[in-house]
Symmetry: C2
């Protein structure tokens, strides 16, 4: 028979919605897909030629579990602002950040282990914690991220083995942990000697001002484990991401990764390293920032035009998602059904809430659709929203 | 604090040995590496050009968890001899077969779940079962694979939730489950309605006669889950493998994979599919068979020449490994230490035995070294073996 964890498994509503939205006539704000037309396809193609001519069969052979050394050396340089100077012994290359979560769940979570998360939180993290049968305790969060008063209240009642946060432009809300809260959170974490997983795939996609320093950079390796990825800044299909952490943790995660998938795919690692070596990655990120900012602004101005005034939404300063609150008695899943009839899709927010609240919330992705599609899609959603009172 | 499973984690001696053997002056029979000079590097390079020109950015974008449909369609055709005809709903693409084991461990193993394995068995499987805290029960095995009398004896005492086997050219011993035992095992499995994982990465690497039909093909999907991989027949660095199983199992594994790493790398899947489409894969496998057979024969004739007569070894009919039994009181780890001083390496067999026996066994890989290196390496190992009595 199946393991007990299987009882808690459910299909992600998002993956189900994505099956519908793969039809070309559907305008989708549902997925968390980066804009594919901005992928550096030509550059990766050139990188492939260079990699095969330089490394030959090594690009296709088994390689070490820790990850390709020149890639880890490049990653270390981007973390140079950290309080302690990380070396390549602090980096493990993972098969996407989702695998970082899987490996960390294996390292920290027994059945019933307490994990604090934001409320709402990233669905993939909740799925990973659920596979390992964690006791997830949601901590109230708002547009400045996890609320410090709620965290302190939580700590009075429970001792978490892990705290999981996405501090910059969170999935699903787009919220960003303010600098003041970052400082206060680090104090509390050090005082209680907690282990914090900082999941930071969107940190570079900042639209206004500079990137906030990460908790890992500000708070150090004793308490903070940093997950990051090239999925949102180069391309997700290569599945190249990394964990940065204390060396002892990296050694243990490496052992666990041996028993999990031996290693991250060799070719993808070589391609990312060669891409970083031969291209202006910072300039590429500036293009992503400009494009996504423009799409966010298109979505916001379309929402101003087409959405009823009774709704609230935020103005995320980065990332890929915008968050909408409907009147309290509305159910976003009903809205979605009516939107799908008009070939437009989004993700109802409830699934992101470990405490089952959030029935009246919606996540809108603005990175994947073109400005024209954003305007038209929001118009259709607006039509549904404006008449929704009649359907209740 | 760490999860309880972490207490059982230990570094694989193999990975430690591989760090030493990466020095170019070392002749290594230690790793399980396929012969890199036989990788179809040119063909994969051409496949990369075709993939980028045909699919563009889709080769770098997120894709579905189940895996690339045209690749699954091709895999299904290779399984056409099965008693029930599998469809693409019976296939999940995995990040190497090691991930297949991880996903299956998640699906079936709670702490203390009973898993029967051969004795000795594949180390990566034992690591995966150990991460999920299975109770591994080794079943005595010989050169014809798992012993039927030992399996029946095991079933009288315990009811396993899983039986794990590598029936064809097993890692580490090279043993192949005889057709008679395959038939008898299937009867027993059906009688007890057991779930069997058949791990079959070496099945195609057969040197004499034809490939044995897999248990999955002979016994059907109700009781048999088939793991297979392109790592040994195309290239391991792409990390493209698959699980074939009943649709319900595939659906559950797909959900688990969502929370594990979202999907297998898109580019690797596209490359394997395009390679299979545009090249003569069967002819490539024939070349691998001929080359590995020749290397096995070189190793056998060198052993005849250089090894003392008190040793026993097998003559595997396929795969990548040869198995040596030393006199009962010898410890292969001591032999290894002395071999490393002479820049030649192998893997002591004890680690492969769940019951801790096998101190006097050695695994020799013959696929990775050239015939010249095989002759010279075996000569050096022979020197150590011939004088080992003096060191006891």
């Amino acid at each position: 028979m199946y393991a007990e964890r299987v009882d808690g498994l459910k299909s992600s509503a998002i993956r189900e919605i994505l099956k519908i939205t793969s039809r070309p006539e559907v305008i989708s704000f549902a997925g968390g897909l980066p804009a594919a037309e901005l992928f550096p396809v030509k550059e990766i193609e050139t990188a492939a030629r260079n990699v095969f001519s330089r490394y030959g069969y090594l690009a296709l052979q088994y390689s070490i579990t820790e990850g390709f050394v020149p890639l880890r050396e490049k990653i270390v340089k981007t973390l140079a602002a950290a309080t302690e100077r990380p070396g390549i012994g602090n980096i493990l290359i993972t098969q996407g950040s989702q695998q970082g979560l899987d490996l960390l769940s294996k390292l920290y979570i027994d059945r019933g282990t307490v994990v604090f998360t934001e409320n709402p939180s990233y669905l993939g993290a909740l799925q990973s914690f659920s596979i390992f049968e964690a006791d997830v305790v949601p901590i109230a969060s708002d547009q400045d991220g996890m609320r410090i008063d709620a965290l302190l209240e939580g700590l009075r009642r429970r001792r978490p083995s892990l705290v999981y946060l996405m501090p910059s432009f969170q999935n699903p809300t787009g919220a960003c942990l303010s600098m003041e809260r970052r400082r206060r959170l680090i104090e509390i974490v050090k005082e209680h000697d907690l282990v914090v997983i900082e999941d930071d795939p969107y940190g570079e996609l900042v639209f206004e001002g500079e990137r906030s320093p990460s908790l890992f950079e500000l708070g150090g390796m004793r308490n903070f484990i940093h997950l990051n990825s090239f999925s949102k800044t180069i391309a997700p299909g290569l599945r190249v991401a990394y964990v940065a952490a204390d060396e002892e943790i990296i050694r243990k995660l490496t052992l666990i990764k041996q028993g999990t998938d031996l290693q991250t795919n060799t070719l993808g690692q070589f391609l990312v390293e060669e891409y970083l070596e031969s291209n202006n990655y910072r300039e590429h990120i500036r293009i992503l920032r400009r494009t996504y900012k423009h799409r966010r602004d298109c979505m916001l101005s379309s929402m101003e035009k087409h959405f009823p005034e009774s709704l609230k939404w935020n103005r995320p300063a980065g990332g890929m998602f915008l968050w909408v609150e409907l009147p309290g008695e509305w159910d976003a899943r009903e809205i979605l059904q009516r939107c799908l009839e008009r070939n437009v899709a989004f993700v109802p927010g409830q699934e992101f809430f470990p405490d089952g609240s959030g029935k009246n919330t919606m996540r809108l992705n603005f990175s994947n659709a073109s400005p024209d599609h954003i305007e038209e899609g929001i118009r259709r959603v607006g039509e549904v929203l404006k008449t929704h009172g009649n359907y209740l």
